[in-house]
Amino acid sequence: MTSSEPKAKKSGGGGSEAAEDGDWSWALVGALFVSTSLVFGLMRSLGVFFVEFVQYFEASAQAISWISSTGLAAQQFFSPLGAALCNAYDTRVVVMTGGVLAALGFILASQATCLVHLYLTMGLTSGFGWGLVFTPMVATVVANVTRRRTLALGLGFSSIGIVSFVFNPLFQFLVETYGWRGALLILGGLSLNIVACGALIRPKPRSKAPEKVDSEKSSSSSSLLRRLSSYLELPLLLERPYLTYTAAVTLLNVGYFVPYFHLVAHSRQVGFSEYEAAFVMSAAGASDILGRVASGWFSDLGHFRLIHLLSLWTALAGLFIMLLPISSLSGSYSMLVVISLLYGFCSGALTSLVFAVVPMIVGVERVMGAIGLLQLIESGAGLLGTPLSGLLKDVTGTYTASFLVAGGFVVLGTLAMTTLPHYFSCSDPPAPRRRSHRDKDKSLHLELEQINCAPPDPSHGGGQ
């Protein structure tokens, strides 16, 4: 059962062909919106539970914070696995399974009797489920939406900010009415909606199928390894453009999130009140949402290359991060708010673009594995960034050094991006194609299309 709009799915060649993004593609964007909100939006709003856990389990705040660290780490670690499973099997089934696992994690967590149970359920199980959901959903949207790709991603990711306005009071209400156990059970139910999002993904004929047909020796370990490495897209790690881009994004990740962790504490330290500090955070959060959508819309107008826009936003974000402590040195509250707004806008703007650039570098077919590996590698940066900024604060006494170093890393990431091949040309280079036997590819596709009752895609076999 394939999609009824043949032009909507573009799997061959670069996305530069002006394909119409049909209604189903926008249903996919809606699915991305909901699933991203249930993964990252949920993760960000768990603070309400942590207060309850500290009291019930009589544990320290640090021990409790490991729960969400484990969840995030599991999501990023299992991303390549999720990508590989999608390459090997059906994306729809993988995402639906991920949704069930994420829900199961929370349902089991509601029965926890000790802290370790929470690490294993809310952390590991749900994190594993999230890993099976996020990368496949993003890669599916990237592969299926071509003309308005960045806008689609921007809209999908804006859910994180928008939904946190809803989740925080909702979770507070749930905990007050049902206690943390009942609230976790209900969250598990909410997470099941990811399964509905996964159902919206339609299976399509995999161009990886020829790989299976090619290797006739089915159960020897070397062919297994070769298949595994092709599912995980490991050869990508040997390609210079991909490695450069991954390095740039990793450097970016070390620093670009630091303000969200430390802005409130820094504002308080400079001398502003609790409400003023909280307002600065909310302002940055709101402009983040705006930045995601606005940058998505603007990038799709096509006036500039995506990679140039991305470097612009990252450079600006790095600059504003470095300006944050300097603006508050002057003691002016409005300066701090303005710089935070600008920082929020730029950091939101760059998140829409980070994944949209990937198909330009590796080709649309390999996007699934590419994003999976990218998530895994950039997770190391997250592990480094926050403790480093905390350490700098402990050593120097103020947050100035933390912000300057964080901004420095972001600017370094921008510089790394400029070393991508064809960076300084005015048009996108042709996207690389997967090297496969073209003839076998074509004939197999014709067979598959007949079986699946779709009209033969005229542009598929011959797209450059």
Binding site: S4, Y178, G182, G189, L192, N193, A196, A199, A454
Partner: protein
């Protein structure tokens, strides 16, 4: 021998004269007795009045000689003398009304109060004429962060109810716990006697652990911090519910997800059916099997 008898008589008479029972008042602080007893520590609280009235909270945990001082800068027409009076709980204290002279543009009213028991706590006011007043509220240390939202727990689970005194304030001597059942009747909880309750007191915190909850355990739990001079109360609500309560919305969401997934899959199947039957005739047999 007659002189020693005279001496004895004289001493006895002297003893009888000096051994007069002292008058004690039932309300208000005891005025300093004629015979000095063991000295208490002293504390001073001074308030400079700006405006007409002011309220000052004073927290005391041990018996003390408390000097309260009110300083008033007066109004436009400052008379050389103004009537100052001390009140406790609204009643004027004996021997406390006196004329306060103006010194350096200010009126000073001072008095030392001996605080030794719970009766001595309360609301003391110094009043200048009929115009200015300072209220001193003497009390045992009050509890800081008391959880105002009810604790929700489940039947069969155990729960920890916590009462905390701020660490900046003195440590309570002991704690008591009471349970109220909706009506105002409070019953003290004896942890030693019951299998269900456990009380853990540590420094500034007291924790009541209730095991094997049942719905009857819902209600208001009051903790009492005991000090030498008095006690402070705090209370926490406990609500015990069965697992069925959160299960209701969970099942509703589950049904919603199942319906959505079924709808999406059915819609997709009907779309491809349309395609199959509408297009190549060679695929007619396949559309029949779908």
């Amino acid at each position: 021998m007659s002189t020693s008898w005279k001496q004895l008589l004289f001493q006895t008479v002297l003893l009888l004269i000096s051994c007069r029972p002292t008058q004690t008042k039932t309300s208000g602080p005891t005025p300093p007795p004629l015979v000095p007893i063991s000295p208490l520590s002293t504390a001073v609280r001074s308030v400079v009045l700006e405006g007409d009235s002011h309220t000052e909270k004073v927290e005391l945990e041990n018996p003390v000689d408390l000097e309260l001082e009110c300083v008033w800068s007066g109004n436009l027409n400052n008379l050389p003398n103004v009537t100052g009076v001390w009140r406790k709980g609204g009643d004027e204290l004996e021997n406390s009304r006196l004329a306060v002279p103006l010194e350096n543009e200010k009126y000073h009213l001072r008095r030392v109060f001996r605080i030794v028991s719970e009766e001595n706590l309360g609301n003391y006011s110094c009043v200048f004429g009929n115009e200015a007043k300072v209220d001193f509220i003497l009390a045992a240390p009050q509890m800081g962060e008391v959880r105002d939202k009810p604790i929700v727990s489940y039947v069969g689970d155990s729960v920890v109810v916590v009462c905390k005194m701020e660490a900046t304030k003195p440590k309570p001597l002991s704690w008591n716990w009471y349970k109220a059942n909706g009506t105002d009747k409070e019953q003290i909880i004896y942890a030693a006697e019951s299998h269900q309750y456990e009380i853990k007191d540590k420094d500034w915190t007291s924790k009541l652990v209730v095991h094997n909850l049942t719905e009857a355990d819902s209600g208001s739990y009051h903790c009492e911090a005991v000090y030498a001079l008095g006690t402070t109360m705090g209370h926490v609500e406990l609500k015990v519910i069965t697992l069925w309560e959160p299960l209701k919305p969970f099942i509703a969401i589950l049904v919603e997800v199942v319906v959505l997934v079924a709808a999406i899959l059915l819609y997709e199947r009907s779309q491809s059916k349309k395609k199959c039957s509408g297009e190549n005739g060679t695929n007619a047999e396949q559309s029949n099997t779908l």
